[in-house]
């Protein structure tokens, strides 16, 4: 691993690991804003018990929120699964397990991405149901 001049060490080969290194940092910047604002909107400005079907239906009438959530979904999923790939890479050394676990990571990434994307595209809500869900 060559050290770049003046900065911290980074994988400089130009392959997938270099891309992954930059992807963590660039997606991370976006996620800081997307995720923290998401937390504030769903836990602070509105109590979590009030993030009901009715509220989401109204919010998702505006396509901006669908796009926002899809961006959050995609970046967080890729950022997180890439992290999981690195962790597995660090601790799992036998070839059989590496193949099994890393391909599982890939499949899970695809599956959850499709599930989230499809929901964000097809969901058509209705202004029905309680505004806040009280506990049983």
């Amino acid at each position: 691993m060559r050290v770049s001049t003046g900065y911290g060490p980074r994988p400089a080969g130009g392959g997938f690991e270099t891309f992954s290194w930059y992807f963590f940092r660039i997606s991370g910047i976006g996620l800081i804003f997307l995720a923290i604002i998401h937390l504030i909107l769903n836990h602070v400005t509105t109590d979590v018990a009030c993030t009901s079907y009715q509220l989401i239906s109204i919010r998702y009438e505006n396509p901006f929120w669908r796009l926002y959530d899809w961006l959050l979904l995609t970046l967080a999923l890729l950022h997180g699964m890439n992290g999981l790939r690195v962790v597995i890479d660090d601790y799992v050394r036998t070839r059989g397990w590496r193949l099994a676990l890393q391909s599982t990571v890939g499949l899970l990434t695809l599956a959850f991405f499709l599930l989230g994307t499809i929901t964000l595209i097809i969901f058509h809500g209705a202004n029905v149901g309680p505004h806040c869900i009280l506990n049983h």
Binding site: D47, T51, V87
Partner: protein, 126 residues
């Protein structure tokens, strides 16, 4: 990888918080997909999120996200700012302080409704 004291813990916490957030994310994608099954099914899931235990667990999530985000900024400063590595330890202290400062008000809003504390965002209008 960082060797040594606070550098190693900051790396470890970054990893642990990242994995925790990822695990939550997978569950979260599933519970949001319940929207497709109509208001009754989806709202049942939301009722779960309002319970005391889940509220407390979500404090862990919030703390994890905040720490992971702020430490991520620290990592980028170490990577891209020539003086970054020199200040890594004091930056870690700043990360911990800012994490706690941002966490406390958010925790109030999450736990407050359990005790009827005024949050201005609940059904009863409190």
């Amino acid at each position: 990888m960082y060797k040594g004291q606070s550098g190693m813990w900051s790396w470890l916490l970054h990893r642990v918080s990242g994995l925790g957030i990822l695990l939550f994310l997978l569950v979260h994608i599933v519970d949001i997909s319940l929207l497709n099954f109509g208001p009754n099914v989806y709202n049942e899931g939301i009722a779960l999120f309002g319970t005391v235990i889940v509220r407390i667990v979500s404090l862990g999530l919030i703390a994890g996200v905040l720490y992971h985000a702020f430490n991520g900024v620290r990592i980028m400063l170490i990577d891209f700012w020539p003086k970054g590595a020199r200040y890594q330890r004091s930056m870690f202290a700043i990360v911990m302080i800012v994490t706690i400062l941002c966490f406390l008000p958010m925790a109030y809003y999450v736990i407050g409704p359990i005790f009827g504390l005024p949050t201005g965002n609940t059904a009863s209008g409190m």
